[in-house]
Symmetry: C2
């Protein structure tokens, strides 16, 4: 059975990717306690995802998937973007760990709401964006293979947080055509329309060819 | 003698504009205690400057000049931009009063430094941008005249505040080709290269024709 590594310590993400990559075993970073911490220092989601996938593929010798995602607000010219996890700046870590404490999430979310306080309805559009990278290390005489894909979910920023699901900016994000924020949806509902779900499914479509090209199938 | 109104309560700005508009008397809002407070609700500097100049021209019946300016940071996709005066969101006023307390300035500046903490030298470029608007009300059978101009000063964001002059983000802004931040310069030195100085001088060049076209000369 083919085995790949997903560069995350979030069990929910692992289960989600395993469900999408039917028949492929997905290991998380918990299985590789010596895996390097990779700071998200690139100016793009793609750059950060690739940085992480390359580091984990190099460390494990296995095909690696990594993602980087964030909220891009129209009225903030696409920011917080790659700075989504450290937007309020008060926590100052460079690892961009989106699974950390709710205090950080709450401070980031509150800052975005404050920054948009005077922005009219109709100008509050935003997108959740996820870049996912796949790095398959070289095997024998085959070359390494790298792919990046992007998934988007368009919506708008509401004026007050709603819902307790999800994490990060979910309580203030209303997807287009929905009446509930992503924090008010069941996880499977959110996966079906989410930026990360779209990116992972796009990557799943590329995986068989990538594994074959690198001599891993 | 021609008289115009500058939509500000900042005496320093009035003196600066009067020096540039040689031979034209400039009044500030202090001379018009009933002048309306105009919230800066537009998504562009030009929009906000025009909003203010139109309101003051309508209120006073005199030619009016207004400006809106801010810091546009490359790594923040041009933000804080029109939100420069309320970037840290903790003071929540919509008037964008750049002359308010240093606490607000310090909080905004600290947030930008924190957001750029992981941004490498060479990617820390920024510009101070000023839009200035001139609105000359109609006179007799002449039409009203409106002009907007933009002035820019390019530079970079340093890692720690330096200097005590200026206001807002001056202590962290290093103009291209300079070794001092704009907070380390004398006011006249800063005027000579600043975004606001450039915008006011551009507007000064348009003023005689605008006054003549509106039947005010």
């Amino acid at each position: 059975m083919t085995r790949i590594v997903l560069a995350t310590r979030n069990a929910g993400k692992i289960v989600e990717l395993e469900r999408i990559l039917d028949g492929i075993a997905v290991a998380g970073l918990a299985a590789f306690p010596d895996a390097p911490e990779v700071p998200e220092t690139e100016p793009t989601f793609e750059g950060n995802a690739l940085l992480k996938a390359r580091a984990i593929a190099a460390h494990t010798g296995l095909p690696a998937v990594a993602d980087d995602s964030g909220l891009c607000v129209d009225a903030l010219n696409g920011m917080p973007g790659v700075l989504s996890a450290r937007w309020s700046g008060r926590f100052g870590d460079a690892t961009g760990d989106k699974d950390a404490t709710g205090d950080k999430d709450a401070a980031n979310l509150r800052l975005v709401l404050d920054q948009l306080a005077d922005v009219r309805d109709g100008l509050r559009g935003a997108a959740f964006v996820c870049a996912a990278a796949l790095v398959v290390p070289a095997n024998g005489d085959r070359s390494a293979v790298e792919h990046t894909v992007e998934g988007r979910m368009r919506g708008a920023i509401v004026r007050e947080p709603r819902g307790t699901g999800g994490f990060g900016y979910d309580p203030v994000f209303l997807p287009d055509g929905e009446t509930r924020t992503t924090a008010e949806m069941a996880p499977e509902e959110k996966d079906a329309i989410s930026h990360r779900g779209k990116a992972f499914r796009a990557l799943a479509g590329l995986l068989p060819d990538a594994l074959a090209a690198a001599g891993r199938l």
